[in-house]
Amino acid sequence: MQKPPVLTVVLGVFAALLAIVPLGYLVLRLAEGIEAASAELARPRTFELLSNTVLLVVSVSLTALVVGVIQAWFVVRTNLSYPGFYAVVATVPLAIPSYVLALGYVSIFPWFSGFWASWLVLTMATAPYVFLAVSAALLRVDIAAEEVGRSLGLSRLQVFLKITWPQVRTSATAAVLLVSLYVLSEFGAIALLRFDTFTRAIYNAYRSSFDRTAAASLALVLVALTLVIVLLERRYRGDYLMQRPANPRRLKQDLGKLQTPVTLLLALFGLLGAGLPMAALLNWTMIGSSATDLGKLFAATLSSAGIALLAAIVVSIFALAVSIWVVLHKNKLGSFIEGLLWSNHALPAIVVGLALVFFGANVTPWIYQSIWLLMIAYLILFLPNGLAAMSTPLAQVPKGLTEVSQSLGQSYRKSLTKVILPIASPGLIAAAALVMLTVLKELPATLLLRPTGVETLATRLWSATEELAYAQAAPFALVLVIIAGLPALALNASVRKTYAEVNEE
């Protein structure tokens, strides 16, 4: 196999260095202040945070599992009326950043805060991940085995538990672990709902202690927790590529009298996960429309879009380079770099932000508080997303085409730029767009690293909520959902696949 182009190797190694240096610096800094750090960790408060965090992660994971499985089962395996509609209802919370969801709720119920509030909001925000994974698995379940089970006298519930569930379990577990990672790194919603987990405590420690070792040591505990889940996730991943059976048949159970109650239940989930909070924000936007500062809204939209576009380009350049390297010229160093970059996919944004503030202020003052430090944060956070999205279209380009092109006398570089990249480009552009939409919604790292004077939609929303000014915050939230959330939902490949498959018959 040909050696990878030098440029891809340079970019790949550079990205890997960027990804590890700030965190390395955080650890170094902690080692210097080891006494203060251990004092911080020994506080009773740390245990309170630990138990809050674990409690929230476990409870949200369980309820998201239940909600997602219920939605998937009824949509895929019963004669529910309008299953396509309910598939949309189940996935639509993906279009709403969780802090927007939280904002929607607190703006209706000012007392909405603490554990139960966070639990509800995060359950609704993460259930779609379970729904997508489980409905995909349910669509591939071997119906024949179920029929045999029924004919041998098992009840419907027994069939589900003994025959169906084991075939779905791997996907469900993977989705639940994804949910746990989401909850662990969640910052905005939890801070808005005033429940103290590690992310909020890190931000507060950073803001209100002169010795920032405190924030750093909490950050490392969070990273350790994350690692535990990532390792678990590794063990359970790998079932995503299950093929559909050759003759896809679906055994649809007749809901009978349950049609109405089930419809109501699914509608209730939709109401809790999107309808109610979005209606509240719409209402606030209209109430406050006369006082809305359109100039501010426009400026924030513009700088959000500009920053996200730049980030998408930066991330895409690196993601493309690394993808070319590992997909077309797989070698040991490439795989190592890819693994390294991937390991960041679960890193909480607040930790990356914190590490870069320290690093920027002390080591690289020339990019401190500039857009470039923020770009490095986005690169660390979203390169894994870019890699995942870009390697697929590259891998799908038929290998023979390169050979044909080279046999016709084109140089390798020409074949790459004239043949491979153009063929893969629709997929690559979609990948870049997804990165851009993800960046638009990012809050914690943006909050810590944005250049002086720059306000994005997310940071504007944040500062308005700090003053409980809901009418002020609502339009920013709506614009975010419209320009980032809905397009991201429309571009999401597994969402589209699920819609298509549910509507097939």
Partner: protein, 331 residues
């Protein structure tokens, strides 16, 4: 590839247009503002219009900005630090990052509202008050001392903002006046009795909506709200504690110069000008600190507030206060 780089260039220029080009650390005039953007940005806009000087403003909590200046050290992009309270300024000054101000500037205001070493000075005055929802707290129930709020009858009823520097300054004063043990005990009672918000304005909103019965805030948030919606429409009142109670702390929002940039002095002069002082009176209901500008009608004059005699220079013990608040588990 060419296309991608062309797109990259285009994006960079878009971002540049949106005003987020990398800050030139020498060229830009940067002010770190520890006060609410809603209150301060109109004043900054006025300054920009009058002076023609472009100002880059970084808004955050005063304690956060103080810690940030210490972290940044000599690399700090800040030229001026405009803080919500004297404590944050004192802490930065103690670490040696503030320059001495000119005597002519310092002498514009009374000595009790500026640093003993001349490194910072007040720009506007404010007073801590007890804000309560009139449906949920009767006048008979009003506490005579802020220490009374530690009692079990206030469980879950008091809005506080432990990350806010005005609250932190009050805690510093409490520790200085009543002793650190009393302050620590009071704070741990607040773990039960307090409901935590980010800002004074959020506490006021919560008290107004009845989400919490009462709160500890700076006086002018209540006046600003009253001016906005009409005082007769407010659901809450403000009250002072008994005379000499630390709960009535008098404090200043103030300013200090971090860099050698000549524009810094000009900006500070502006904050002490009649225009700016009148802005504080009219727009934020704060106390002006220079002679010749009168506080809003109906406001108890600053020197008649029943506050304890307290040297604002002592508020510099912000670091110890933050440790106290963190030890109580409020942050």
């Amino acid at each position: 590839m060419k296309k991608i780089f062309a797109a990259a260039l285009a994006a960079v220029s878009v971002v540049g247009l949106a005003g987020c080009a990398p800050a030139d650390s020498d060229g830009d005039f940067v002010v770190y503002v520890g006060r609410s953007e809603t209150l301060i940005q109109p004043l900054i806009d006025q300054y920009v219009a009058e002076s023609g000087i472009e100002v880059q403003v970084r808004y955050a909590g005063s304690a956060e900005l103080a810690a940030q200046i210490l972290e940044e050290g000599d690399n700090s992009p800040a030229d001026v630090f405009f803080a919500q309270d004297a404590g944050a300024l004192g802490a930065v000054s103690k670490a040696g990052f503030l320059r001495e101000l000119d005597a002519e500037l310092l002498n514009l205001i009374a000595p009790e509202y500026r640093a003993a070493d001349g490194t910072w000075m007040g720009a506007s005055g404010r007073v801590r008050v007890f804000n309560y929802n009139t449906d949920q707290v009767s006048e008979a129930e009003l506490p005579s001392s802020v220490l009374d709020l530690a009692g079990p009858e206030w469980r879950g009823r008091i809005g506080i903002a432990p990350t806010n520097s005005s609250f932190q300054a009050f805690v510093t004063a409490l520790a200085k006046v009543e002793g650190e043990d009393v302050a620590a005990e009071w704070l741990s009672a607040m773990k039960e009795n307090g409901v935590i918000y980010e800002k004074n304005s959020a506490i006021l909103e919560a008290v107004e909506s009845g989400q919490v019965d009462a709160g500890l805030i700076n006086h002018y948030y209540w006046y600003a709200k009253g001016n906005e919606v009409g005082f007769e429409n407010l659901n809450s009142e403000i009250a002072a504690f008994e005379s000499q109670d630390v709960g009535n702390l008098r404090n200043v929002a103030g300013v200090g110069i971090v860099s050698e940039d000549p524009r810094a002095k000009d900006f500070v002069e502006f904050l002490l000008s009649e225009t700016a002082q009148q802005y504080f009176v009219n727009e934020t209901s704060e106390y002006p600190l220079i002679d010749g500008v009168e506080p809003m009608a109906g406001l108890t004059p600053l020197d008649q507030i029943p506050a304890p005699e307290f040297d604002l220079n002592d508020l510099e013990a912000l670091e110890e206060t933050l440790q106290l608040i963190r030890a109580a588990g409020l942050i």
